[in-house]
Symmetry: C4
Subunit: 212 residues, 4 copies
């Protein structure tokens, strides 16, 4: 008898957490037209990740698959999304990362286009910095990296890898595309995602008001 | 015994799909004051379509009727909405079209007014292009046609027909009025609708920020 | 045995309709901090109307009272809201009016402040005009009157009375305060309210975009 | 047998009210990334207050603790949030205060940054002033104080104390951080919170439109 490729009880628990968060994020309008990818690291070798092209407000366990850290499908006939490569890149690069959330809110899409030429959005003065692990005060600056979009996943992964140089960086934007945010577990990743979305919304509003 | 005019089981299934989507779209505020029309092609000859003037958040099967492709009512005492002509125009013109969704969101209404004189909105650089059937990259431009509004349905249909010249066009705007979007089935039409709405919202925001 | 002051079954039905609509309007954020008043004409002599100061998202039948057309309480120890006078004014002035809805959305509050000096907001080119009873085309202009706010209800009623001079006027704004909308029944009043709110939102957006 | 530190039935009732309001406020997006703190005065000596760092949309009674008016934990192993000091400051300073609500909406965060240098936001002409206890007309001005943010709670409390000089002041902003609002009970505090949020949103919108 073969050893199972992964622990199915563990998988079911990860899938349930992904489904709960994606439903909430879909209800906010951050996964328009089936956009977005969401994953949890199950083990050093495996991650549970959403299958591409599904309505994120209606996921079931059958819409979640397992990939290994080289982005190969495990015990499934599904092919992973091309963007699964960006998830496994983070798991390989940062051993403490336990979950990766990728959404496409209007604020994220617009901020990526606006700040692409600068390569980062410099955030200043937000009490909400304290929601980002490793940050304890509003009296600092937090840079959110912005990389250009590409349909070539190797090129996009290389762009991302090059900008993730600062400690306690918990997200990046892809111009015209959306946000990747992560954390040690899915609740922390979600807290980081919500904090970045909130601060991006404030930055855009401050630009509209002429003070950025 | 007469042959039934259409298959009632098929009709009930189409009506259920229309009701589900219209409730969701009404909840988003895209069908204000009973606005909007929604249809599914049932067969080469027939389409199920919403009756005009109903609150789209509270539809029941009794609020859906059948028209033939010349926009005549089938086995019903209801008269179709004048705008049913725009639905059957799409079914006649594009044999692959299986569903047509027409909404009136604020973004759609405003974008139609703003871009009416140009006859189209040119979208650039969105990852979300990939949600539109036949589009595979953000590195392109997508034109969403805009036609002037008219209460003369023949004139309006002719305006629309004249601008639908490009392959893989999945929507158009009527100035001051709203969006028509379509697809091979209602889920694809909805994905196209959601993608256009999202990108129109981003375009308006980029104009507010002075970069369009 | 005394004749009952009004038909309690009729009252219960009117209260149920008011409660349903106010809950929906509260959920939209149009009744902030207990703002808003809502009524239905029960008979030539009586109207059911919300008691002042209640959270409009949590109304029960006990939060609805009856007034006569001189704004006097009927068979209740509750005192009517001062603004009940604006409801009964409409019932006296327009025999066809069956329901009056008064909300305070941000768009309504802001538009009232912006256009107070002009005394009206001139709306142009909206397909949604057709949602207003008696209007059949977008190729017209619709004026929504704007009156200055006052805590003196007689003065405010006189201001309102003076501006309601055009046929098929179904609403007015009070500057810094909110919208009154009405119709032959509560569903029509709601359709008018939703249509005005939508068009006010579009007008403000067009101003932000520099085209109004 | 020891006297219990506080009345547990009273505590359970206060916790239930806090949970209801925080769920509603979280659903509005005013407690991003676990932000916000909420309390009710239980007695002259004690207040029930949310534990820091919890998702405010999913609170249970176990996420509420008791502090005394010197901000010390009572009969619990939990440590109070640093910001609990701002709650007890209000309870000590104003004997009539029965509940304190602290949220971080985008409008609150942005308005605090925009008006920090002026030390207050001057509100004018809103009918909604009447939702603030002690105010009876729109024909006045209401100042909402704004203090600079600080991670030093003693310094922040001193800043707050210095600006709370006017009668019938029911809130203040901390720049880049959020709003504190209060009332004689939690329903009044909530009405004040909702009224301030609404008027801040209108003020920002009027600035965008160039009339502030």
């Amino acid at each position: 008898m073969d050893t199972p490729a992964f622990d199915h009880t563990l998988f079911a628990g990860c899938a349930a957490q992904i489904i709960q968060h994606t439903r909430e994020l879909a209800a906010k309008g951050w996964t328009p037209a089936t956009a977005g990818n969401f994953s949890i690291r199950m083990s050093p070798e495996h991650a549970a990740i959403t299958i591409s092209g599904k309505d994120k407000g209606r996921l079931t366990e059958a819409d979640i698959m397992v990939v290994d850290m080289a982005n190969r499908p495990v015990a499934t006939h599904h092919r992973p999304s091309a963007e699964a490569a960006l998830h496994t890149h983070l798991y390989r690069k940062f051993p403490e990362v336990g979950a990766v959330l990728h959404t496409h809110s209007p604020n994220q899409t617009i901020a990526g286009l606006l700040y692409a030429s600068e390569g980062r959005i410099r955030l200043r003065g937000y009490e909400l910095f304290k929601a980002l692990r490793g940050h304890t005060t509003h009296e600092t600056e937090v840079d959110l990296p912005v990389v250009p979009n590409s349909q070539d996943m190797d090129a996009l992964t290389a762009s991302v890898d090059a900008v993730l140089t600062q400690p306690n960086t918990w997200g990046y934007l892809i111009a015209g595309h959306g946000l990747y945010a992560w954390g040690r577990d899915i609740n922390e990743a979600r807290r980081h995602l919500d904090a970045f979305e909130f601060m991006l919304g404030c930055e855009l509003e401050l630009r509209r008001l002429g003070v950025r």
